[in-house]
């Protein structure tokens, strides 16, 4: 599945906003991938896979629409965790985004 218009390493102007998802709410309706294919595609069960979490300036209106359209209220836009460096952190193009707080056992 390759529908991405985001090629290469260019991620656009940073907005400081990240897409976040509450996986316990997501039921795989899939509207987010329709409205924001640049950032989200769907696995074979219809659950979203993030190409990247950061939302660049030119996608922000689309990201807001995707958040508003989520029937399960699972998708959110949240301010990115503060980053030490002024430039954006490496984009999470691979579906790997492990927050340290998730690993506390």
């Amino acid at each position: 599945m390759s529908t991405g218009t985001s090629t290469g390493t260019s991620t656009g102007t940073s907005t400081g906003m990240d897409l976040q998802i509450d996986w316990t709410r997501c039921d795989g309706h899939g509207l987010c991938a329709l409205l924001l294919p640049e950032s989200i595609w769907l696995d074979d069960r219809g659950f979203p896979v993030f190409r990247r979490r950061e939302v660049p300036e030119h996608l922000l209106p689309h990201a807001r629409r995707a958040v508003a359209a989520c029937p399960a209220l699972a998708l959110r836009l949240e301010r990115s965790a503060p980053r030490p460096a002024p430039h954006p952190a490496p984009s999470h193009t691979a579906p790997s985004h492990t927050a340290p707080s998730h690993t506390v056992r």
């Binding site: 996986w23 316990t24 997501c26 896979v49 492990t98 998730h102 506390v104 056992r105």
Partner: protein, 419 residues
């Protein structure tokens, strides 16, 4: 505190493994003759020292104590994140839902007072009386309950049976269950130190962590740091499984070469249990949480296993993958559907009907796609096995089997109680 060779304690209850200290016995001091009661505990460790939160954090920082439940978070940092005062809770996590791990139940059974000393020390430092210990194993529970009755300073300690499996033992799931909710991790990021039991700040850690807190104060940071690796001094508990020189629970100084624990020869080795990493030989790795993490082989809750040469290695991996799938809390689609699909692909790989690449793709879809780290850990367990088992997989691909029986060297009993 002397070196001990072989465990000589009497018959142990089911679920409690023989425990041996190699070199300096600290957590396991006095356990060669079985459970350490209060009198013996006091003779070994003295009356517990107390410290305020500032001094306790300084002492824990001086020895670089890391949490022993799996995440290896610096304990001093966690303590400093807690407000001091009555609102706070102390949560001792003894759920140990991983069937490969036995160190926590063994510690609670053999040295319950050391765990209680640590929990009460933290509670004293935080100026709270609210201490909760959750315990899965019935023998460990009985021993802890007897310990609470033996002493006068633990009357307020609440012991709670907690049998909610692997994911249900994750600290935020435990905290939620203790707050009257379901024993599943919350969908949004919360830190127990901010929003724990009943929504109150909660200092939560693994039972072994608390026992070390007691030792750091009893010995003092300098004495505590006289054994072990410089990066993470002291001792650690491990569960050694499979084809290793000494199976069972051991207390060892950190800094030992892994080859001393599991033997130097090559062969599939699992470091860090069922959310852990497969490697093909111990090599130069040493037992040191920061160093192992830097090497990409985190120790997690301290399970080390070597697969016996006579077992179907791919079958062992698939069996554990199936167990991991059965332990999904069922909350998050990518985990609930993804882990059974991954297991199915592994079984098809074993019968020569799928490729390594298909397994890798399935595993690659899991990380970061759940409310907790269960899909991440399961993906790591499976994905890292693939290169290590390359020769076995080739045989399976050609013949549809490897000709070896499945010995079940990695325990994966489906023993989940009804929630």
């Amino acid at each position: 505190m002397t070196a001990t060779a072989e465990p000589t304690h009497g018959p142990l209850p089911a679920g409690i493994m023989p425990a041996t200290a190699w070199g300096t016995a600290r957590l396991l001091a006095g356990t060669t003759s079985g459970r350490v009661d209060l009198a013996r505990h006091r003779a070994l460790h003295g009356v517990p020292r107390r410290a305020d939160a500032h001094h306790l954090a300084a002492a824990l920082e001086a020895v670089g104590l890391l949490g022993r439940g799996g995440a290896a978070f610096p304990v001093a940092t966690k303590l400093r994140a807690m407000p001091v005062g009555r609102r706070g809770h102390v949560l001792v996590n003894g759920s140990e839902g991983e069937p490969a791990s036995h160190k926590d139940r063994t510690l609670m059974y053999l040295a319950p007072h050391l765990v209680l000393d640590g929990a009460l020390t933290v509670a004293h430092a935080l100026e709270t009386e609210r201490v909760t210990v959750v315990i899965e194993d019935p023998s460990a529970f009985s021993s802890m309950a007897a310990a609470v009755r033996e002493r006068t300073d633990a009357r307020r300690v609440r012991l709670v049976p907690h049998d909610h499996g692997y994911v249900g033992g994750e600290v935020r799931a435990v905290s939620r269950a203790l707050s009257g909710g379901p024993a599943v991790p919350p969908g949004r990021r919360v830190l127990p130190t901010e929003h724990g039991i009943g929504g109150q700040p909660t200092f939560a850690s693994n039972v072994e962590t608390f026992a070390h807190v007691a030792l750091v104060l009893a010995l003092g940071p300098e004495e505590y740091g006289t054994v072990g690796a410089s990066g993470e001094p002291g001792t650690t508990l491990l569960t050694l499984l499979g084809d290793v020189p000494h199976r069972g629970v051991v207390e060892v100084p950190t800094g030992l070469p892994l080859s001393a624990l599991v033997g130097p020869e090559p062969g599939p080795l699992l470091v860090g249990g069922y959310h852990g990493t497969w490697i093909d030989r111990p090599g130069e790795l040493t037992l040191d949480r920061p160093a192992l993490r830097a090497a990409g082989v985190p120790l997690n809750a301290g399970v080390l296993a070597r697969l016996p040469g006579g077992t179907c290695a791919l079958g062992e991996v698939a069996t554990v993958a199936g167990w991991l799938a059965s332990e999904s809390a069922g909350q998050c689609g990518p985990c609930f559907f993804g882990l059974p699909a991954l297991t199915d692909t592994l079984h098809r790989l074993a019968s020569g009907r799928a490729t390594t690449e298909e397994v890798r793709r399935r595993a690659g879809l899991l990380p970061g796609r759940g409310a907790c780290a269960h899909p991440d850990g399961a993906a790591r367990f499976v994905a890292t096995a693939l290169p290590v088992l390359e020769d076995e997989i080739a045989t399976h691909r050609t013949h549809g089997h490897c000709g070896r029986p499945l010995l079940g060297a990695l325990p994966a009993g489906i023993r989940r109680a009804a929630a």
